[in-house]
């Protein structure tokens, strides 16, 4: 099953290597990994998708937590969440095909971001399925180039992620877990 994790890490050199190395070391294959800034400059946020069964998924989470620079791990696979991928697709569009391609783009609510004599570049944001759908229908025209960002994800609802109280606090001041349940 595909699992989606949101991982908050300290924004420090080498942290991405540590996370990526963990997956390699434990023989899990990352399907997609994105990193970016958050509302706090000292925190980066990763969205990682990986194929794993229930026990593996929990072990990945536990192993991520063991990394000293990892602040919070959320497996949001089962939670209601907004999941977005972004793609840019350069599609061959000669005079005849052009209007068909534009029509398809508008059906998918995609935007044309570059127009050239023989091609159009389309930007689309959405779930992976939606992007796959657009790709499918564009393929017959000739996809010249394509890039996807990989997914970013966020839980729905009011609640933000609860990070350790302050990144500036010493070790002793971190709120410890109320208890974790590992039984099956």
């Amino acid at each position: 099953m595909m699992n989606t994790y949101v991982v908050y890490v300290e924004n420090k050199p080498g942290v991405l290597t540590r996370v990526a190395s963990l997956f390699r070391r434990r023989a899990f294959n990352i399907d997609s990994l994105t990193v970016g800034r958050t509302e706090k400059p000292e925190v980066s946020r990763m969205t990682i998708t990986v194929d794993a069964d229930y026990d593996q998924a929990r072990r990945i989470e536990a192993n991520l937590y063991k990394l000293v620079n990892v602040l919070l791990v959320e497996n949001i696979t089962e939670s209601p969440a907004i999941i977005r991928d972004l793609a840019m697709i350069k599609v061959a569009a000669t005079h005849d095909a052009r209007s068909h391609v534009l029509e398809l783009a508008s059906v998918f609510r995609a935007r044309v971001v570059d127009v050239a004599p023989e091609s159009l570049t389309i930007e689309i944001t959405g779930t992976e399925d939606k992007i796959d759908g657009l790709l499918e229908v564009l393929r017959p025209y000739g996809v010249l180039e394509m890039v996807r960002t990989g997914i970013v994800a966020m839980r729905r609802g009011n609640k933000g992620a609860v990070l350790a109280p302050s990144l500036n606090s010493g070790v002793g001041e971190i709120a410890s877990d109320e208890g974790i349940s590992y039984s099956v």
Partner: protein
């Protein structure tokens, strides 16, 4: 303008201008470090120069691998942080084996390496290696320090990470310019800042209830006692649990000593070379209570057939170990001692006499098969040597440090450990060459203890250069080489699984006694059983270090044995009467 508070703080902590190198030693001292094991070189020279201002005693090793094993032995003998120091490049890469050894056995060591100047990083400068990259998967955490003002906080964090939670090795790589340049040193301000590091988990309350229900309803429970008990300091609690619940205890290799061998509920070692009845007990159990152990493949055998009728409770500090190899019914993730404190008051004492009686029956003819009880055929067996050594040293405060191979398993079988931390051995990585340097570390940490090395003729030659360290530092350790002329454990696998094709396992050895003499220590060769005890006696009385070359039976085999991948109860047993020997053929 300074606020009143700032001025107060300044007075209290009295800040000093120091070099990064000076701060390094100052912080180590404040962390309680008294000894370091190391080897100098260009990139770490500023640190060595600054050592003159420190109270820390530096022990010069002969190979950086030795330094890491010494730090490891130091840590295992006491639970204190062991520290190893090396230069950049080859010095640092020589540490890799020792770091991996410490990682797999959760040993708290701190490795300090010099690094080329920060401006040169990435340029393939002379003796530059990316040691933080190399050691990323074999350290609990590591750091690259490029500025003097980062040294203090990094050392404090590194020491804290190495020791807390599930301990492990931490490496701190410090550039030469960070060692040389100066900054204000302020211990208080350099407090660890690790908001993501949470070594102190505790189980959810409902898990305790589930665990208690399982324990109370079990008819055939067994405790699996591992290294975590030692690390957590929960020996007393485990014994209480066993006694109160009438629950027998099986031990892992690294668990030996946590419950005295003579304790009536102590069954002995489990696993690949564990006692047959211990493995049968586990296979017949209806409840396994795993305490600070991680279901390594050397103790479970084939997982598909492992303890098929048993429920499993796992008490473990590292959540990533839960449901890794064996799926468990209840997991109590937290510090073992704290978890047991919570459980113990609620443990009932049902009558488990029938189960214990049954286990006694499982022992069957094991005693008859025991090599100790076979008629003396004039051959000297490793088991004899180890058993005699145990008889002679059991009353004193002895630490045995073993290497890896057949002799290691015979040590585990024939040296009856009564005390925690009385056996130091490389379990998880199985590192040949570990014993001699680890023993040096153990002796430095516990000078009051009598330290014996039990090492194979193969493994001894991997790190024997440290005999020079012993002489230079005047360290009294006794080295018993179990010399069978083979890479014995590998030969045993060839005997069982490769049709006795002894490819690359026979050893042509030097005269070890003479070699010892060349180092300036006493060397003795023993070929007969009757000489074992008198030799051990005289070695114990001798003031300096001694190497004893025990020429033992060459083609002896460790029994019982669970072949890799076989079911735990499917053991190859020692045939009775004794197997034919090389001489008989």
């Amino acid at each position: 303008m300074k606020s009143e508070n700032d001025t107060k703080a300044e007075k209290k902590t009295e800040k000093k201008i120091m070099t990064g190198a000076g701060i390094l030693w100052e912080c180590l001292e404040r962390e309680g470090v008294k000894h370091v094991f190391g080897y100098p070189g260009g990139a770490i020279l500023p640190a060595y120069d600054a050592l003159k201002h420190s109270k820390i005693h530096h022990i010069l090793v002969r190979h950086e691998q030795g330094a890491t094993h010494m730090a490891d032995g130091y840590a295992r003998a006491t639970g204190q942080l062991g520290v190893a120091v090396a230069t950049s490049g080859p010095g640092a890469t020589n540490m890799v084996t020792g770091i991996a050894t410490a990682m797999l056995d959760s040993s708290p060591i701190l490795c300090i390496t010099g690094q080329v100047g920060s401006k040169l990083i990435g340029s393939d400068a002379f003796q530059e290696t990316d040691i933080t990259g190399i050691t990323l998967p074999i350290t609990k955490h590591n750091y690259l320090v490029t500025r003097a003002d980062e040294v203090a906080r990094t050392i404090r964090e590194a020491a804290y990470v190495a020791r807390s939670g599930r301990p492990g090795p931490v490496l701190v790589d410090i550039t030469k310019d960070a060692q040389q340049s100066t900054c204000e040193f302020d211990w208080e301000a350099a407090k660890p800042q690790m908001p993501g590091y949470r070594p102190d988990l505790s189980p959810a309350p409902e898990e305790y209830k589930k665990a208690l229900d399982l324990i109370h309803s079990a008819k055939r429970p067994v405790i699996l006692a591992g290294h975590g008990i030692l690390i957590s300091g929960a020996m007393r609690e485990v014994i209480t649990l066993a006694e109160r619940g009438g629950i027998p205890v099986a031990l892992t290799l690294l668990g030996l000593g946590v419950v005295p061998a003579s304790h009536p509920l102590n069954l002995g070692m489990m696993g690949m070379h564990g006692e047959a009845w211990v493995n049968h007990t586990i296979q017949e159990a209806d409840l396994l209570i795993a305490l600070g152990m991680r279901f390594d493949d050397r103790v479970t055998g084939n997982l598909k057939t492992y303890a098929p009728n048993a429920k499993k409770i796992h008490v473990e500090v590292d959540p990533a170990e839960v449901n890794k190899n064996v799926k468990v019914d209840v997991a109590l993730v937290g510090d073992l001692r704290e978890v047991l404190h919570e459980l113990l008051p609620k443990i009932e004492s049902p009558d488990r006499g029938e189960w214990l009686h049954h286990i006694d029956e499982l022992k069957g003819d094991a005693a008859v098969r025991d090599i100790q009880n076979l008629p003396d055929n004039g051959h000297l067996y490793a088991a004899h040597v180890i058993n005699d050594l145990w008889r002679e040293t059991r009353e004193s405060n002895t630490i045995v440090v073993t290497d890896v191979g057949q002799h290691q398993m015979w040590e585990a079988q024939y040296y009856k450990h009564e005390q925690p931390r009385s056996l130091i051995t490389s379990g998880g990585l199985g590192t040949m060459g570990f014993a001699l340097p680890a023993a040096i570390g153990a002796k430095v940490a516990r000078p009051d203890a009598e330290v014996w090395v039990i090492v194979g003729d193969g493994g001894f030659q991997m790190t024997l250069c440290e005999l020079a360290t012993i002489m230079q530092e005047k360290i009294k350790v006794n080295v018993a080489i179990i010399n069978n002329g083979y890479l014995g454990m590998v030969r045993q696998w060839q005997e069982f699984f490769y049709e006795r094709n002894y490819a690359a396992t026979p050893l042509l050895n030097p005269d070890f006694a003479k070699l010892a003499e060349a180092y300036g220590m006493r060397g003795i060769t023993v070929k007969e059983r009757s000489q074992v005890i008198p030799t051990v006696k005289s070695v114990r009385e001798h003031n300096g270090p001694v190497v004893i070359d025990f020429r033992v039976e060459q083609e002896d085999t460790v029994y019982p044995m669970v072949a890799a991948g076989a079911a735990l109860h499917d053991m190859i047993r020692r045939p009775t009467p004794l197997v034919e020997t090389a001489d008989d053929e």
